[in-house]
Subunit: 420 residues, 2 copies
């Protein structure tokens, strides 16, 4: 594989996968920093910082940033999650230097001007309002809080209207100074790119960053619990969750495969039983989120008021049943899906750059297709059944529901279902 | 370019863009048929048919279809719009034959079993419920109805609970027989694919389809008007619209460029004025939809109750102002964006297959990058200003709003704003 990796003196990594036959490139800078590193009084500051990076530097106004990249037909974007924040660009091959220059500039020289900050706080308050209007967003916020109450990992990434309004430039700089540090940063690029050039510009622009910042966040404590909001939506939007597996843990791949078998595609058990055989939902799926020290196994579904009472017991029964009956055929199907997905990512510059950055942040190095395949091939049906028992029987689950949720079974009866 | 095109005796086209260096492929069958071809009593049947195609054929159950494609790590999907319906697959190179076989099977041999139909009607009713819970979906339904009232082109693609429940297998077959015909079908594929093989299988599976079906739908009549629904959402979700340009009309490219200059990216006028300078919205954008004989130019935005009164006049002023002040620089920026987007599509099998199919349906042949570039380069600022005047001053606009819309200016005052 054409992957090259260089570590700067301060620990920042530059990773490239050159695809010289392409006319375009994707690149980005990912930071191992997100809402988990926020103190209570910083709730929402990771996301606000991500917005403010685009609002002007010492040499570029917000409009300059937008016009310079779009003038060459390129795109800039960014995203904040619980454990990382990424800033990325998609450009034609001749514009890689420009994109790298702009990305470096917004990450090193943003000025956090007070007028711009006040305006951007308004924008984020509008973003929070839009999220509140979407019951799918709302139920995920409730869910996260039920999983990890009173912890930064359990709070909405956007912050609250009050917290977002409270920040000033000094607080943003202080957060950035503690968290945007060499050892926690990766520049990853794929497509028509030159490794040495990207190393040079990274050394020049990021070489003076200190190496280390905040310690790892306090360990996540999975709690579980029940959060319901009766509202006049047409559908009850429901999520059930249990503690999953950290990405460095022994059970990570088994938990990922379990989620796919249960609800990862049209042939998954939940899709077949809940949608195809019973017609209860349009959307039903299972997921597994992994964090550095914890994880979440979840099932999301939505259905009309009359069907809520039927839906949840059916899902619970599918989970319990899966723990005893998963077959080698199902495991092989999911292995093939993962492998095909990885092969297709290798052919897309954006997917590939994001994947490299994620691997570097999660495992400290890029992981080859052969190595991932080998890790996955070690998981058999017995291993998946074992992790299913462990996950489903571990303790009180999280239940979140919004909409006509009166028919949702009592939390106690859901808890009981998970007892071995 | 490596594009090959073959027309079968019945008019069906097979289009491929081979990328033999890839490990994967994307392919699909697109039909020039969608909600516009529905009679009033067929409202929603295009979308129901698209769902029912996956519910079993003479030789495969719904579960067989899902398991066979996912067993090899592939994916199947489908989408229904106003003027077309597409069924597509994404697979590794060795599985192109399997994917073609399954796609052909579901499009020629679906059985529309009564029990499966009853279940799928329930699923779509859940889908309708979920759409009603999302104010962004809801406001677009209102908008479409204001644009084209009492016409199939103005009705929601999903249908209504009542219409979806009313269909039986005979109605689905009758609709399909009239609309899934050779001259209105395209098989398009990109990635690691072999043109001759795809021509052979298409001839074998689709060669006996008749050539022609329903006549073109009745011409669209843009009406405009006002649709507001006061509700307790946090944000007012608003769309303004005027008549745009058909894809075969003289003004098509100018209208596309106008939409991008006004609201196509971070450097667009609406983003800069409404979000960056005033902090009024998180999301604000302009769009141009083209149909065979009409089009829609629109602006979508959402904001809190207190800001609605300010938002709409600002947008109107930006539109009016644009018609007189668009610069060559702005046109060049958008040309570059379109060209970069096209180049990037050429590197993605899924984007490329969809693009080829769309071009065949819209213009009757694939259009090369050079030809599109040449068409776009003919558009200058004068042309864009001219179309802006024509579009904005043509007649009563459509206004749709959901949420706290009391502060939204009266329809009459919006209409007046558009008078020259």
């Amino acid at each position: 594989m054409a992957v090259k990796s260089t570590t700067l003196d301060n620990g920042m990594t530059v990773l490239t996968h050159a695809m010289p036959h392409l006319e375009s490139a994707a690149l980005g800078i990912w930071v191992k920093s997100g809402s988990r590193w926020e103190t209570l009084s910083e709730h929402g500051i990771s996301h606000l910082l991500e917005h403010m990076a685009f609002k002007g530097t010492t040499t570029r106004s917000a409009r300059d940033i937008a016009e310079q990249i779009e003038h060459v037909g390129g795109e800039l974007n960014a995203a904040t999650s619980i454990e990382h924040t990424g800033y990325f660009a998609r450009v034609l091959k001749d514009d890689v230097s420009l994109a790298t220059d702009i990305l470096s500039d917004i990450m090193r020289n943003a000025v956090f001007d007070a007028t711009e900050l006040a305006r951007e706080q308004r924008v984020i308050i509008q973003e929070i309002g839009a999220a509140h209007d979407d019951p799918q967003d709302q139920v995920f916020d409730l869910f996260q809080e039920a999983l990890f109450p009173d912890q930064s990992i359990g709070r909405p990434i956007l912050g609250t209207v009050e917290s977002v309004q409270s920040f000033d430039a000094d607080q943003i700089r202080a957060y950035m100074d503690r968290n945007y540090v060499g050892k926690r940063m990766v520049l990853a690029a794929s497509g028509h790119v030159d490794h040495d050039e990207l190393v040079d510009i990274s050394a020049e622009r990021f070489g003076d960053l200190k190496s280390e910042g905040d310690a790892e966040p306090v360990p996540a404590k999975f709690v579980g619990g029940d959060r319901r909001q009766q509202s006049d939506h047409e559908q009850a939007h429901i999520i059930l969750g249990m503690e999953g597996r950290a990405y460095n843990s022994d059970g990570f791949y088994a938990a990922q495969i379990l989620a796919s078998i249960l609800g990862g595609g049209m042939s998954s058990r939940l899709f077949q039983e809940v949608r195809e055989r019973r017609g209860l939902c349009y959307s039903v799926y299972a997921f597994h989120w992994a964090f550095a020290d914890s994880g979440v196994f979840g099932v999301s579904a939505a259905t009309g008021a009359d069907d809520v009472a039927e839906l949840v017991p059916v899902i619970l029964e599918e989970l319990r049943n899966a723990a005893d009956t998963i077959t080698e055929d199902e495991v092989i199907r999911v292995r093939n899906q993962i492998r095909a997905g990885l092969l297709m990512s290798l052919e897309s510059p954006s997917s590939r750059a994001g994947q490299l950055a994620r691997q570097q942040i999660l495992w400290g190095r890029p992981i080859s297709l052969a190595e991932t395949t080998e890790r996955i091939n070690r998981i058999d049906a017995a291993r998946v059944k074992k992790i299913a028992h462990e996950i489903f029987e571990a303790g009180p689950p999280a239940v979140a529901g919004i909409g006509p949720v009166k028919g949702l079974p009592a939390y106690d009866s859901i808890v009981k279902h998970f007892r071995p």
